[in-house]
């Protein structure tokens, strides 16, 4: 099957709606199809990858650990928009440490999060062939 550049655009906070959780399920399947996968976290989507998520008070399963597993599925291009963080009073320190292991470099751990400016994010979006938004 052909390989296409897929981008999954995440603009919503987790738990308030099912979009973040069900978006992750699509991302994992796309990896199984060996597609060129990128994720974009903009606007409230940045809350999906904050660290220290604690769902004990809301009766929902905490699925934030799934983002940490993405590297094992070779999903390692997680573009995070700086302006979206700044607008929300956040910095990269508020985000989970998401990494992948590079098979070609003796399994060296590398960061999956790629911090980009708004205009750089626009450039990345413009390169995609299939954009699915959640």
């Amino acid at each position: 099957m052909a390989t296409k550049k897929f981008m999954f655009v995440n603009r919503k906070a987790p738990y308030g709606t099912a979009y973040a959780l069900e978006s992750l399920e699509v991302v994992l399947i796309s990896a199984a199809f060996e597609q060129d996968v990128s994720l974009a976290f903009i606007d409230d989507g940045v809350y999906q990858i904050t660290k220290g998520q604690d769902t004990t008070g809301i009766g929902q399963k905490n699925f934030s650990n799934t983002y940490k597993a993405l590297g094992d599925y070779e999903v390692n291009k997680l573009y995070v928009e700086k302006e979206s963080l700044e607008e929300r009073g956040l910095t990269q320190d508020d985000l989970m440490d998401l990494v992948w292991e590079d098979e070609d470099e003796d399994w060296t751990e590398k960061p999956s999060i790629i911090m980009v400016s708004r205009s750089e994010m626009a450039d990345v979006m413009a390169e995609q062939e299939v954009t699915l938004s959640f």
Partner: protein, 102 residues
């Protein structure tokens, strides 16, 4: 590669439309459908932002959605074109990719 950006949220309620304008590139097209069509009207708190986008992007509105919200096309910002569903399909064909700003 030109992209068709499809927006369906009112700019007066959600940030999706602004976010779309912040990420669309010169030569791209923007189509307002559903609640986003209210953003096509001139003389609103949003109209200057959309006029700026018109400088290097094409902007369209789905006419049926605008009419359903009690707004006539003669109130639209100059330069915005109204299309029907056939025109919507043409826009997806003319642009290599689409992105929905949900």
């Amino acid at each position: 590669m030109a992209m068709l950006h499809i927006v369906n949220k009112s700019p007066f309620e959600k940030v999706a439309f602004r976010s779309c304008l912040n990420h669309a590139k010169a030569g791209d097209s923007i189509l307002m459908i559903e609640d986003a069509t209210v953003g096509a009207i001139d003389g609103t708190s949003f109209s200057e932002k959309l006029k700026a986008a018109l400088a290097d992007k094409s902007v369209y509105v789905l006419g049926g959605d605008l009419a359903a919200r009690g707004l006539s096309e003669d109130r639209m910002i100059d330069g915005i074109k109204a299309v029907d569903y056939a025109g919507f399909v043409d826009l997806t064909v003319e642009n290599e990719t689409t992105q929905s700003w949900l």
